[in-house]
């Protein structure tokens, strides 16, 4: 009898747990289970201002569709988990173009050209469409693009002091570095930033076919040359150190993304933006990576909500979207029509970005690039921070890259 009572108590408790679980499960839906309900879920990892601008534009252009913009901090990791599952993944998402290869190979992306005519894409900057294309299929509708810019603090570096070559930059650094001040700082041991130097030597991290090139002569030369600049920069150079040095006025110049501009202006810095200096030896300018941000369509949404997705994608081609997002993010629109807008045409930042885009290198979008970020980062920290020999370190990194790429298969 007593045992039964005790048992009943626990059964009761368990039922409570289960019912709690089930009721809560009822209200848990990602996109809809299927069928075209006129509701579009979009994942993003952008600042609030960008998301709000996008939502406003979309609601204005397609008023009868309900848009749910959800911020996802680890967007790519989550997508790798949820894949093409309609109940857990979004209908569309916004991300840079460098993960296209991974997601396309996984088989969760629908081609953009199923919804948008080739004609509509013809007004986009070639660079952005190239970046959005993987194995001859366009998987991303470009919205805006970003790249790193040479920024300087006019209080310390006069406009006529801005270096046009790397040797000039080095001379400036030698003169202005010391006693807690730096002539120039950058995230010298991060692959995304240092790739600019490698490109400036005509090298590249990985070939279009997915062959790592870390032991190539260009890469080794670039690393060896870059080293003397690193010696005049702080030893730790992750983003918080570099950004703070520049924003606190302790560094005269830096290479940074458009996201640095608002905080620099807020700190009262008279910000100048200049073209990248050219490498004396090759005559090529430092060429940073550029990232094309755009909208992707997941396969399940393409199949189940074809009509709604088509209308949304067509709306996203509207130049007003590019203009609104460029203003919110400080980046440059991908659609050339946007530049007819007087506000965009007059924007100093946008123009600098567009100019740099001419010399910038779009990030590779092949899946093999995924492991190159880590390997290159290791190589840079080995050479710049641990003082290892460039040749040995580069050869070791090349081997690691080959191993990892082989392990992907």
């Amino acid at each position: 009898m007593r045992r039964i009572k005790k048992f009943a108590a626990w059964v009761l408790a368990l039922t409570m747990i289960v019912s709690l679980v089930l009721t809560a499960a009822g209200c848990s839906q990602g996109a809809d289970g299927g069928g075209d309900t006129g509701r579009i879920v979009i994942w993003h990892d952008k600042e609030d201002a960008v998301a709000e601008a996008l939502e406003q534009e979309l609601t204005r252009l397609v008023p009868d569709v309900e848009f749910v913009l959800e911020k996802k901090t680890s967007l790519t990791d989550s997508l790798k988990l949820s894949g093409n599952d309609p109940s857990a993944s979004p209908d569309l998402f916004i991300f840079a173009h460098d993960k296209i290869g991974v997601f396309a190979e996984m088989g969760i992306l629908a081609p953009v050209t199923d919804f948008v005519s080739e004609d509509a894409l013809s007004s986009y900057l070639d660079m952005t469409i190239e970046a959005a294309t993987y194995k001859d299929v366009v998987y991303e509708l470009p919205i805006y693009f970003e790249t790193l810019l040479f920024m300087y603090n006019r209080r310390y570096m006069q406009d006529d002091e801005v270096p046009s070559t790397t040797e000039e930059l080095y001379a400036y650094m030698q003169e202005n570095t010391g006693r807690g001040r730096y002539g120039f700082v950058e995230q010298h041991s991060t692959a995304y930033y240092s790739a600019a130097w490698i490109h400036g030597f005509g090298g590249s991290l990985i070939s279009e076919e997915g062959e790592p090139l870390l032991d190539s002569d260009e890469v080794k030369e670039a690393l060896a040359y870059h080293l003397k600049f690193v010696e005049l920069m702080p030893g730790e150079a992750e983003y918080s150190t570099v950004n703070t040095l520049f924003i606190e006025g302790q560094a005269d110049a830096t290479i940074g993304g458009p996201w640095m501009v608002p905080s620099a202006r807020e700190a009262g810095i008279d910000l100048g933006i200049a073209p990248m200096p050219a490498v004396d030896e090759t005559g090529l300018p430092l060429s940073p990576y550029s990232g094309v941000q755009g909208v992707y369509v997941l396969k399940h949404a393409a199949e189940n909500k074809t009509e709604t997705v088509r209308r949304v994608m067509e709306a996203l081609c509207n130049p007003s979207v590019g203009i609104a997002l460029a203003e919110a993010s400080g980046c440059a629109p991908a659609n050339t029509v946007c530049y007819d807008d007087p506000a965009i045409a007059a924007d100093e930042m946008v123009n600098a970005m567009r100019d740099t885009a001419q010399i910038a290198t779009p990030m590779p979008n092949i899946p093999e690039m995924d492991v190159m970020w880590t390997v290159t980062g290791n190589l840079l920290s080995d050479v710049n921070l641990s003082g290892e020999d460039v040749d040995t370190a580069a050869d070791a990194a090349q081997k690691q890259a080959l191993d990892l790429i082989a392990a992907m298969q």
């Binding site: 048992f7 730790e236 995924d370 290791n378 920290s381 990892l404 992907m408």
Partner: protein, 314 residues
């Protein structure tokens, strides 16, 4: 004393053997009462291991995301190639890391908890609460605070103090040894509050009358500690200690976020087993291969704990 009793209870043969029917009833009710807990563990702890084992036999990767096949033991064969000098030195570093961290943790926690239990210490509640603060903060927040607030070579508090003392600025996280020490400091800072709390709870459960009679017998502090305190708290803190050993061995956040984070590497080569395999396997998005490595590490851990258990017994 309670220890003797514990032993007697642990040996069912000394008890009067219950009848078969009664035994069956006990078994049934015991499992029924434990069922909710065991089911939860089965779902969240056991199922992932089995599932990982299953995936390790397939070729699931970026190129075969939905259409993966069972390919047998190929992944294990490839995983064994990862066992090179880098892997072995990471393994050694991890063992050293676990031992150093556990020894310091246990000794410091024991001493502090004993001091906190001195009866005339009036503000112990305040001290205890303050000492718990590191625990109340999300781990990555603390690690970030340490990394940028303390160790950063430009702005870190440590280097600002060094400067005031007229010493050279130090790059704390860039060499292997100092990175190991820094990681250990942060790990201790994060882990000690829990250990102090467990020790404190265990110390409080000791019946004070044992000490009274021991003092009457003229036993000194050391003797009392060795013959009363340690044996009594051992079974109580045992579970927590064992679980902490595994957590320390598996530690990822501290080492990765302080020194190895992609884009913020500091130049140190100190890797634990998990950060090493993360960098050399998990980033490939090859789930089959990564799963095989996870299973291998798991087997390695099983062998260690089995050996450890044997030594403990003898």
């Amino acid at each position: 004393m309670s220890l003797k009793r514990e032993k007697r209870r642990d040996n069912p043969r000394q008890k009067r053997l219950p009848s078969n029917a009664k035994q069956r009833k006990t078994t049934f009710w015991s499992y029924l009462c434990s069922a909710p807990s065991l089911i939860l563990i089965g779902l969240v702890v056991v199922f992932p291991i089995l599932y990982t084992g299953y995936i390790s036999l397939t070729n699931m990767n970026v190129y075969h995301w939905f259409d993966f096949d069972i390919i047998g033991l190929d992944n294990y064969e490839r995983a064994l190639f990862l066992v090179d000098s880098g892997f072995l030195s990471a393994l050694l570093a991890t063992i050293l890391w676990t031992i150093v961290n556990m020894v310091i943790q246990l000794v410091v926690a024991f001493v502090l908890a004993s001091l906190l239990n001195i009866e005339s210490l009036r503000f112990r509640k305040v001290y205890k609460t303050l000492l718990m603060f590191p625990w109340a903060m999300p781990g990555y927040v603390s690690i970030l605070l340490w990394k940028t607030g303390m160790f950063n070579s430009q702005f870190g508090l440590l280097n600002q103090w060094m400067e005031k003392l007229g010493l050279e600025a130090v790059r704390w996280l860039s060499s292997d040894v100092s990175a190991f020490i820094c990681c250990t400091v942060v790990n201790l800072w994060l882990a000690l509050p829990f250990m102090i709390m467990i020790m404190d709870g265990a110390l409080q459960s000791i019946d004070k009358s044992y000490y009274e009679s021991a003092i009457l017998d003229g036993a000194g502090w050391l003797r009392r500690t060795v013959s009363i305190t340690l044996p009594t708290i051992r079974p109580i803190i045992g579970p927590a200690v064992i679980i902490t050993v595994f957590t320390t061995f598996k530690q990822f956040d501290v080492v990765y976020l302080l020194t190895q984070q992609a884009g913020a590497k500091t130049g140190s080569h100190f890797h634990t087993l998990i950060t090493y395999t993360y960098e050399n396997a998990f980033i490939t998005n090859n789930y089959g291969y990564s799963s095989a490595i996870s299973i291998l590490i798991f087997v390695l851990l099983l062998v260690f704990s089995w050996k450890f258990h044997l030594e403990e017994k003898s």
